[in-house]
Amino acid sequence: MLKIKRVPTVVSNYQKDEAADESVGCGRNCLGACCINGARLPLYACKNLEKSREKLVISHEAKEPPVAFLESLVLGEWEDRFQRGLFRYDVTACETKVIPGKYGFVAQLNEGRHLKKRPTEFRVDKVLQSFDGSKFNFTKVGQEELLFQFEAGEDDQVQFFPCMPLDPENSPSVVAINVSPIEYGHVLLIPRVLDCLPQKIDHKSLLLAVHMAAEAANPYFRLGYNSLGAFATINHLHFQAYYLAMPFPLERAPSKKMITTASGVKISELLNYPVRSLLFEGGSSMQDLSDTVSDACVCLQNNNIPFNILIADCGRQIFVMPQCYAEKQALGEVSPEVLETQVNPAVWEISGHMVLKRKEDYEGASEENAWRLLEEASLSEERFKEVNALIFEAIGCSDQEEDHEGTVVHQQSPNGGVVNQNSNRIHGGVITNGTAAECIVLQ
């Protein structure tokens, strides 16, 4: 079993007391059965994107909405919690800069984020682990940390109810603050919070996240996802999101098309970026795009490959980054200088937004340092190709020899997509021999 020690991020003010008892009316106003009765929250039901998509073509009457509605809701409720003092620190007081150079990495000095927490052991060799109700999860957050309920509506109009009971029968998806924000507006989207889903991509939940990106209608509001083994700290399904009004280096990286799926989703690989990544875009509908990415992620999960997702450009572009940093760290293969910075390359770091804990790292931040760190997270070229082959097979494109330079090598694997790892193990692969089977979850 591979483990690393790291300081867990405190995302909720109720995370500290792991073992607090939950007898009736636990007094924390949480989401458990003890407190949920009578709880109310605004409900935002977004418009049906498939329906409204047809209207994309020229219709000139409508006005631009005054700062998009969902954006006002997120910002307004977040600022309210900020002024109520629910955050552990004022993130707008954290110094931030663009690192000089051609890529535009962003560095933030955040000395407060990791204080007062002891390092904890994390198992990093299993991307899928079952939900453990005894550990911290989002049913334990205080209701004041919740901003609103979010659902994918059926109507072609946004529906909003300022004060809607939380219906335990329906397990609402909720948006909550992250009390250790890394930028303004840092929130968590928790699909069907009361269902206690483990951190694992499923089609419906990813589509919900893509909907949120589309509804926020701001290219600077992205959603991110970390799988277990790729720096998720809480095994309770959640996406993160925040505002940063500049492009991420990942978004600026040039890309080269690999294939187009039957539904028109174009898959490209990023060029000239330290972490080998895939970009999914296009498709005849938002659902096509989201489903293709879900297929890819389910494949990664089933093959026990840790990964991160960035949903960018209002849901039009989705980046998938398989990675192997934690595994290398557990095996003692990460260079000491990189380790010393204690930066964990999760989705935001991989996208190019570096949150640094030490002043000297912030002051000395350079493109080379950022690059070196991210490089450690990347799969090797060879392994990346193998992983791509697995993904293409999973989405039904494996017999497509599209690449005219012939860089993609497809390996038809006889045992249903799980690459045999018996010989030399390559980083980011199935980590322990023979454990792959126990990670495959039948849906």
Binding site: S72, L73, P162, T260, L271
Partner: protein
Amino acid sequence: MSLAESSVSVFTDEEEEESSSSFHGRYTLWIKEALDELPHNFTITDPFLSGHPIVFASLGFLQMTGYSREEVIGRNGKFFQGPKTNRRSIMEIREAIREERSVQVSLLNYRKSGSPFWMLFHMTPVFGRDDGKVINFVAVQVPISGRGHHRKVRIGSGFSGDVSLDHSELVFGSCRREVCFGSFVHQDPALPVECDGDDDDDEQGLEDWEHCEASESEKLKAAEAINTVLSTLTRYSELNGALVCGKRCCFRGADCLSSSLVISLGRIKQSFVLTNPCLPDMPIIYASDAFLTLTGYKRQEVLGQNCRFLSGVDTDSSVLYEMKECILKGQSCTVQILNYRKDKSTFWNLLHISPVRNASGKTAYFVGVQVEESCRNTENNELRPETRQLSVVGAVRVAVRSLSMVTC
């Protein structure tokens, strides 16, 4: 985002007047006539008007797109985009505007008829010579003739491959500099692929091209057109004494906001002002359109003033004191205060004030958001006025913080 959402509504009479005076204030009377003489397709925008609208469109541009001038003036340039518009080109334009620099990219746009067309889009900022501030953006649109298109090739069933790279400069390996900074000259692919189909279906298949590289002569043409428009603008500003130029001649003064900050703030449709605590007497340095509507003042009458002109004889001085205390301590506060419009009529102002930090964590501005008490009763499907008010504070924080991260 749908076209419907992305387009601003055409100007109201008031805005029309503001747009035309913003244009004529900088340049002499006959500027529009002089620009009409030019044969090129181009538009000029004003980043200081809310929504960053087009304030001038050339005859060639109107002809190319099939719109009338009235339909175009007052809209944001993204009005012409649609489902097949290349997202990467949009990102490059967005970033060029944010960084106040030039960009040249291929772009797919739609005519009024709904038909798509590829053009070479070349945009550049126009600077004031005295204050180094961006005054306008000019964009030239050169239709791409159709040679050198990269066409998708069908292989097998249902899937298609692309014989070209998305960004032709990649053929040269690491050319990131060209993509992101300054020099906007794209190079021709090393292995030009020309798939000349039937000329007839050229038009129809146009939108299927994922990337469309302009020829060298089209690039030259765009650059020349930009120069012609710039020199016309320079000439007509010279006569007026408020010189403009295509290169920034001096650094922007500390008391004037960058055009990109103003564009971001312009998206916020509610009443608010920004004041600068580092300047004597904390003057207003930004006032939203809604603030001007609420108070009845013109922008030039409030910029540079301390907000106290809003209070009058019946304003409770203890509330003024309370506000002052909070500001001194750098805290936020919400007060209810009796304010006066320009016409001396009064209204109850539910005012929220918060300090706003820049990227180095220092308080750079205070934001004041006004909600008229009588407008507080909302429909039950709307955001609470308090939430809307705080959302302005949030939007201002995001804009100020992100836009001060670039240290250039």
